[in-house]
């Protein structure tokens, strides 16, 4: 086993990890503040991908306009998240967790078919933005620039979210809502607005990751339910509601998936599910989380 081979496995794992982090960060954010597992997060991700494709078609049918399309998709999905929270989710906060889970699942069903209705069932794809279309040689392996960009954007988003949560007034409110919603409400803060904003930011991140994945993966129906389970695993491994936990959770997930192939060929999926089960058994609140 040569070192360049190991390095390329490592880089592959890291790319997977940073993609998953982009998606899972939003899931973890909503869980941390609202104590809700949002199954529809995968659907937001899928909508991000489809909307980016759509915007690219409108802007430059031949390709190009990728960055504008990405921004457009992320903002649209962020708005969709805000509307969902305002119209439906609000009335479920006092209700049992089972109902909240099933509500988000109802969204999965509805949005999944809505995407089929709007964009059909064919595979769609978006070409890589020209500036990042090339590749460079590292340690005797060829690394596409776009994957390096993804690897760089993961920590950047993590850092931005950390700044938002820990160094701004809004972030302080969010952390307070996380600890004691009722007390914050009683103190006169607009908790309802905080919840809508958090849900919207989470949806924005899902839409952003959906748009960014389009140059690497083709857009197909069903990408929503496939990704959501992976994002869950990441959030569970790292600790639900913990930002850095989600970050390291994705790194571990990516590497286990990437090197799991070497140990159990064809069984790498099994190794990540098993990892999740083991972590839930030993430390149910995850590596970086706190007990509920």
């Amino acid at each position: 086993m040569s070192s360049s081979f190991l390095f390329s496995q490592f880089m592959g794992g890291l790319t997977t990890a940073m993609f998953l982090f982009l998606i899972a960060s939003g899931l973890s954010l909503v869980f941390g503040v609202m104590r809700v597992i949002n199954f529809a997060h995968g659907s937001f991700y899928m909508f991000g991908a489809y909307l980016a494709w759509q915007a690219v078609q409108w802007l430059h049918p031949t390709g190009g306009g990728f960055w504008l399309a990405t921004l457009f998709a992320a903002v649209c999905v962020g708005l969709l998240g805000a509307v969902t929270e305002r119209v439906f989710f609000r009335s479920l906060y006092g209700r049992e967790e089972l109902y909240q889970l099933l509500f988000t699942y109802a969204l999965v069903l509805i949005l999944g078919d809505a995407a089929k209705l709007l964009w059909g069932t064919d595979q769609l794809s978006v070409s890589t933005p020209p500036a990042l279309a090339g590749s460079i040689q590292i340690f005797g392996t060829t690394q596409p620039l776009y994957t390096l960009f993804i690897i760089a954007i993961g920590p950047a988003i993590a850092f931005a979210l950390w700044l938002l949560l820990n160094r701004t007034g809004a972030g302080r409110m969010v952390r307070a809502a996380q600890m004691d919603r009722e007390m914050l409400d009683a103190l006169g803060a607009n908790v309802a607005l905080i919840y809508t904003a958090m849900f919207s930011v989470s949806a924005f991140l899902a839409g952003l990751s959906g748009a960014l994945v389009t140059p690497i993966q083709s857009i197909v129906p069903g990408m929503d339910v496939l990704i959501i389970v992976q994002a869950f695993i990441v959030v569970v491994i790292g600790g639900m509601g913990s930002l850095w936990g989600t970050f390291w959770g994705s790194v571990i997930y990516g590497q286990v998936l990437s090197f799991g192939i070497l140990i159990f060929p064809g069984f790498s999926l099994f190794s990540v599910f098993a990892l999740m089960a083991v972590i839930l058994i030993v430390r149910p609140w995850g590596l970086f989380g706190r007990p509920l």
Binding site: D113, A277, L280, W285
Partner: protein, 344 residues
Amino acid sequence: MTIAIPTEILRRRAAAIGEKQRALSARIPWTLIVFLVMATVPWLGSRYDTFLASQIVIDALFAVSLNLLLGTTGLVSFGHVAYFGVGAYVCGILMKTYGVPFSLAFPAAGLGAALFALISGYFCVRLIKLYFAMLTLAFSQIIWAIAYKWNDVTGGDQGLPEIPYPHLHWILSIPGCGDLSIADRFYLLTLALVAVSLAIIHRIIRSPFGRVLTTIRDNPERAAFLGVNVRLYQLAAFVIAGGFAGLAGALYGLFSRGVFADYVFWSKSAEILIMTILGGIGYFWGPPVGAAALVWLNQVITDYTQYWSFVLGAILLALLFGCPGGIVGGLDLLWQRIKRLRHA
């Protein structure tokens, strides 16, 4: 301790359950009538009706087994399809690969699923609330990954097609059954097996053991205080529910003439949850009603549109916001209101 279940519905139901249930069912044996009507389908209905009825009966058993956890014990399992899948694969592999007769493969499927439920349940019941739901989901995805990837045993993404039907020639020798097709015979066998399974589950829920499960659902702390080993009881319920789900899976694999990895994907767990809630989790007959309603609706709606998921999502939304007690819960409420009007 456990995930919060719509307890207000369940409690209201529990209060009224005693004498009303006895008084009604003592006069008319509804269960027997429904069973007999279902048994006439091969003679009175078309081949297509038998097909639908088979599906309803199997889903009913699956949903009732889930409701033993959800409604009776108060555990939200998001991976119940794992045990259904284990049952389907055990029965399918035994019958197709090893040529084991159905009479042995069927109980083996239930035992296999119960055994896997024992192993996974041992870990699951130690967790609470959402974590329980997540871990059950994780175990079901492990089963899916194995089913999807272990080509030599499970057939991988190709699945196990063409599992031989049990021939059931002995049914032909019963008077009046001489000209039944093999699908009809299998339906009658399925109906009988499901009826027996439902009777057993019913007895379990009404037994002192079942009462303890209900106590755990309503107030686990108090149950623990009274000296009940809460986890042990939850595990027992988990194993029983898993075993019966396995039996339903075995029947489903034979009914659909094959076992495929798709059966075990996590979204199937959500579908069976919807079925159970649609019927009403506070009632023993809620889940079968939900199964019948959903299978029938699916047939009607897929005639008009391919967007079944959309409709299912809309139904679920209506249910969550409009009628959390499900169909049976809604009818019960209506019935109580009529009674009150009559008395007034």
